[in-house]
Symmetry: C2
Subunit: 471 residues, 2 copies
């Protein structure tokens, strides 16, 4: 990699702090011991490093001035939203400046003629959902972590539950305002529906994990809010039968909004974690489907076909949730799975490979083999309908040394199998710091070289979030 | 721009021809006078240049070997499909090798479990539509030019009629096989629905107009074929009223598949060109809408709302086309608009700006002012529902000199107005050679510099389609 090496980065000194305080005011500049330890890591754990200075920015102009200063002085910069990432992407490996975007959190405009919502990057996903749904609009991307910022969602190209029908975050970003590493501000895309005007920088920024530019504004695409939504909870005797049914659902040409799979152990963990009962916990495995549309009949026709198909494939029952209360009971549990699994163990790490939809069963079966073979607890749930799995390896009572060894061996096996199944390293959580080794195993030198060249095209001094993704 | 200057490119000599003949056989290598004049231009006219040698390739391996040879010998390469482009993107400005992809035209796999179709780049759009629809699947992108290759469609990120509901070509490309300018072959994306594994090279290649890599295979996303489609032809007293209704349709939360606008002059031209009557030609302006879905009731509810809305806004009538025959009569005319307008004049050039949907009326009104002010015929039709306009300036009896001057002045005004309305230079036809000046006017130096850096990241010797897009 060209660009600066870590030992060429300038360390923060008094002059830098004076510059930042003059620009932002004393209240928004945190230096050394003033910085909360939380800012040294994300939800991954395992990797942490404090920034030398953390600043809260309020405007594009402030971001631009900080970046320009950092560029002129060779100071690395890491951008951070809510810190809900799972791969260490917002950990400032080389210290330097952390740009805290959470106070750039205004919803700037709802444009009903063009069906767009313009937001600052620090707006939370749950705030967007509430805002648009109250106004009868719909922002389909629906990752489990609702307290993530939209800036973070765009940077990981988060997918979520509804990707089966609607696609991922990138598909709902129409335009971005960006601050480049040298401080220049550009706008890419806009409110337009079609755009073939030069290289699509917007699409490349989505999923670039804060390594290419700082997002300071986003124009999101909205849809009309579907008038009806219904959820089906479908118990199966075992996971194989549940997951094996998914390609048949896809093939049946019904179009569910979401198809999630879950196992009894995870449901029990969620019940304990939330102190609330799940509608049913007597079966080994479940599919959870939603359908949306604008009329009861339209949805009914769709889900009746799928319900019948599932029963023919051995489903034990079909529970229909058409009230808000019942849906809430199911989906709040689904939303708590990650935290619930985490609460059952001392530490865990996660694999979010995405495989072709008809390879999900193969992959999950393989994780069961690994669980037995390595004598380690492995829990999984995820998006059966789009092939994106969330598989957790749990440390439990292992010593630090045992854990590191076992985790590394189990991950090595999992990512190898994902590659064999024509899957990819990450479906939606990104590469960040933690998954780089698997990215390097997936792609050959020509591919990695090209990614490094792209990084340099945006960031020739390698100042923005160095040490991540392809580095 | 770094990279090679045109005078450093190597000219084709006997040794090069021998290499190509040895690799591909004599029948697939066309040299000098053997090359048909058609290969010197696309549908734009106005700009033409012959390649020094044109080769028909049949496999990824052949493409890779030709690229490697060209890379080692500093020979420029231009990729060509059906040559239906409108901005000169496939014109070999610096001679060199033309890669003719039209014989790499196999449909490789329909994967019903994963809803994907894998194709070679030379398959025609009409062939894909026929193949999947016969099997009850649906590839939504629907540009007017059905004899374009899918490789060309991906390279312009073509949009077409159904972008209102379904999005553009990029949204339906899941994976690509690419030959890089140095001959290396990489695969990006795949059959997976979600992917956050490093920079999205796939999304950047879509719309890159053959300047970054050669597409040798594409994995397309399919949908189940909607069971019913209905078209509404809605006459209005004038264009202002027709187009002014579109944002209201969008706001009504009905979701049409397509919303096209057309004027009487263009319909008359199409009737004459096709020798067939259009269902109605008595009104000044029309909206043409389609709705699709899986039940008659579902579609009816949607279109009845829109029909009522249009009548309230002053529509003169609503013609419903629900038989294949009647739909064919309308849509075959719509598909012939470009050729029909062309047949009424001596020469023409086109502007395909995309503006926010609620600015379409402003822009079209402005073209009427230009028509009067410059005393030149201007005809337009296009995608009112997504803001992508196709505006044609007609030469008629102007001398070459008058035409060039007037066209340049009219275009200058149009692109300026598009920028003022927060539109972009091209909605779907691309920048190629002809629209570079307007791209340079739209974006500042920082933006253009970034695009040039991206070009060099893929193509450090500037050999692939030089002189296009941002150069």
């Amino acid at each position: 990699m060209n660009g600066l090496c870590s030992n060429e980065y300038k360390k923060i000194d008094e002059r830098d702090i004076n510059f930042l305080v003059e620009l932002l005011g004393k209240d928004r500049v945190y230096y050394g011991a003033e910085i909360n330890e939380d800012y040294s890591h994300d939800e991954l754990g395992g990797i942490s490093k404090m920034p030398e200075v953390m600043v809260e920015v309020l405007s594009t102009d402030e971001v631009s001035k900080v970046m320009k200063y950092a560029y002129e002085n060779n100071i690395p910069v890491v951008v951070r939203g809510s810190g809900t990432g799972l791969v260490g992407a917002s950990v400032p490996l080389y210290g330097g400046i952390m740009l805290n975007m959470t106070k750039m959190n205004r919803i700037l405009e709802l444009d009903e003629d063009n069906l767009t919502l313009t937001v600052e990057p620090g707006v939370l996903l749950m705030e967007i959902a509430k805002y648009v749904e109250e106004r009868d609009f719909f922002y389909p991307p629906d990752p489990g972590e609702k307290s993530a910022t939209i800036g973070g969602n765009i940077n990981t190209n988060a997918g979520g539950m509804r990707a089966v029908k609607y696609g991922v975050t990138r598909d709902f970003v129409r335009g971005l305002e960006l601050v480049l590493p040298n401080g220049n501000v550009i706008e890419v895309g806009g409110k337009v529906v079609k755009n073939s005007s030069g290289y699509s920088i917007k699409d490349m920024i989505c999923g670039s994990e804060g390594t290419l530019a700082v997002i300071t504004k986003a124009v999101l695409k909205l849809l009309p809010l579907p008038k009806k939504t219904i959820s089906l909870l479908i118990p199966f005797p075992n996971l194989q039968m549940a997951i094996g049914t998914v390609p048949k659902i896809i093939k049946s040409k019904a179009v569910p909004t979401a198809i999630e799979f879950m196992q009894r152990e995870v449901i029990l963990a969620a019940e304990e974690y939330l102190g609330k009962k799940f509608p049913d916990n007597t079966s080994d495995a479940y599919l959870l489907l939603t359908f949306d549309g604008n009329s009861k009949e339209e949805i009914e026709r769709n889900y009746e076909k799928v319900a019948e198909l599932c029963l023919n494939e051995g489903a034990l029952d079909v529970f229909i949730s058409d009230t808000d209360e019942r849906k809430e009971a199911i989906w709040s549990a689904r939303g708590a799975f990650l935290e619930a699994v985490k609460a059952t163990t001392t530490e865990m790490d996660e694999c979010d490979v995405c495989v072709p939809r008809n390879k999900v069963a193969d992959f999950i079966n393989y994780t069961h083999e690994l669980q037995e073979g390595f004598n380690v607890r492995i829990r999984s749930f995820g998006h059966a309908g789009d092939g994106n799995l969330h598989v957790y390896v749990l440390r439990d009572e292992l010593t630090e040394e045992e854990w590191k060894k076992k985790l590394s061996e189990v991950f090595e096996c999992m990512y190898k199998r994902a590659r064999e199944l024509n899957g990819v390293v990450s479906g939606e959580h990104g590469i960040g710091y933690a998954k780089r080794a698997y990215l390097f195993e997936q792609y050959d030198e020509a591919y990695i070289e090209l990614m490094k060249n792209i990084k340099l095209a945006f960031d020739p001094k390698n100042l923005l979030n160095p040490g991540k993704v392809c580095q």
